[in-house]
Symmetry: C2
Subunit: 346 residues, 2 copies
Amino acid sequence: MVIVPLAFIIQNAFMPGSNITLKQLSSILGVSISTISKALNDSHEISDATKKRIVEMAKLHNYQPNKIAVGLKSGKTNTIAVVIPSVQNSFFARALYGIESLISETNFNIIVCLTKESHIKEVETFNMLSNGVVDGFLVAVSEETQNLQNYDHFTNAIANGKSVVMFDRVVDAVNCGKVTTNDFSALSEATQKLISSARQHIVLLSTIHKLNVGQQRAQGYIKAMNASGLSPKILESDDQHVGEVMTEYLNNNPVDAIIALDTDASLAALKAVKTNSKQIPEDVAVIGYVSERMARNLTPELTTINQHSYTIGNAAATMIVEAIRSKSKDMNQVVISSTLSVRGSS
Amino acid sequence: MVIVPLAFIIQNAFMPGSNITLKQLSSILGVSISTISKALNDSHEISDATKKRIVEMAKLHNYQPNKIAVGLKSGKTNTIAVVIPSVQNSFFARALYGIESLISETNFNIIVCLTKESHIKEVETFNMLSNGVVDGFLVAVSEETQNLQNYDHFTNAIANGKSVVMFDRVVDAVNCGKVTTNDFSALSEATQKLISSARQHIVLLSTIHKLNVGQQRAQGYIKAMNASGLSPKILESDDQHVGEVMTEYLNNNPVDAIIALDTDASLAALKAVKTNSKQIPEDVAVIGYVSERMARNLTPELTTINQHSYTIGNAAATMIVEAIRSKSKDMNQVVISSTLSVRGSS
DNA sequence: CTGAAAGCGCTTACAG
DNA sequence: CTGAAAGCGCTTACAG
């Protein structure tokens, strides 16, 4: 007969939802903690009979292993930090969705940290999570970090044995997994396409000229323009003033096509052309970067360069899970090609 | 003289970024682990001299306490789960931004989990994180959970001693902290405002009729319409077909105002009216739900009901941090009022 | 003022 | 096949 201590009964009676531990199960079953642990982990050392008894009792009490304790013991937390500049940008929102979808099918969790393009915030995040909290980092590098070119927090994390995968915003100088898109050639092709439809005065509108991706896209545009003997014209602004900048330019220059490099610029371009009483796409063609869903609800429907953000997120998540599980150091690079979705605006 | 074991030197020599532990510091300093722990926690038990020595050495080696170990010992993890349906919806994206902004100023971290409106996913998330991983949950209840009215995962978490705060999507039946907006009266006022500008045929367009918040808004609209002797007309659809539904109705019925309850419906309403060759706002006024930033970039600029999503997220985060810290059980409710931002479309 | 010991909830060599 | 012991990295009552 097993004597169950009174204190235990009381505790269980009054805390029905309270999480039960191996120790408590041990005193209920009259079996050692080690045996229970092994049984629940389906060790071959334990007889089928006891396994059965233990598993049933564990189920009855809704036993859930304490992840923190497992993490401390194993040195693994099964948690991945997703460090991104923002989540209000539809690219990152959808990439995060792609990441989460993949991760939720594994036994990993994700911690999301928003850097707001701040280097300090990014560094603090890495420092705070490097010690025991996460197994790896999925990061889209902040604008400020790109400008400062200070990458110690990345290399330290890697030196600490953490897996690091960069996506979209990557840094060549850091040796880690990378998932990017072909920004240069996507823009070059889109520009080429406009040129082959006899557009001559093609303007690039950007609020992301400080970012690597923005520069890559601009280079692709410039290359295509130059290749056709056309002179590139790049308008740069911030999200507050991009509309004014576009309108101002439209009022004083010939324009028959606009390529806008982000959501704000895309909406602003549509608005500026309409306000200018020009027809889209007859007078001015517009190609932009917005989500597919939004593109379909705009007037006219917007031709977009589709970055496949979900796929990028998914690929990055796949890569880091693989890296953590295999502990391999040789990191590969994946490029998810952007594609042009032609709609009414071009 | 302190004898430093060779193994330790090698380890340090070859793993410069590796996280140092109290044990290692102890062997470097020749002081016990307990003393070091107390010194680093600024205990009054330790003399200033040793404190200084210890703190300096800790800094030199960039000592960071292992959060997992601290969490296991204290039973607190300083981590909060944010469980939301999606992050592609601008409301949740911005609310998450508000949450993160508040949390990042505390010593808490957030784990973000996306339920995709699935009850099962929500339940699994709660089960998975309840045992040791998080101290509390910040949740916007999924559509499916609202329909099934199965709230056991919430009450279990609360019984397990976790703090729970619901925001935007709340469940009255669960006794926890709540942050909401005044959906009913916001719609009632917006409708009233249209009526007082002599609009008669005011249509409500919604893709969120299955959600509590959608129903509340619809009720506010109905009340205002009835109060003025007008007959309410509610068009319901999903985000794929909302445009067709609106266009179809416009083609066959008199309409002089549209209130759209979400971003998809708002863009679709603008598009449908324009396609129908009607003028906004002269022929048809449009009021919608989109972010301020997007509203300003639409043509015409959209009058919106502004939910103050950032503030809602911030308030919810404040509430749960407070709840966790104080361990108080009496949960309060906060209402952040929505406001009407009048722009060109009405 | 400092340190040894116990313990948070687990896992896993090692004995028996 | 089962269990006692050590240990993951910390904190904290308790001795000295």
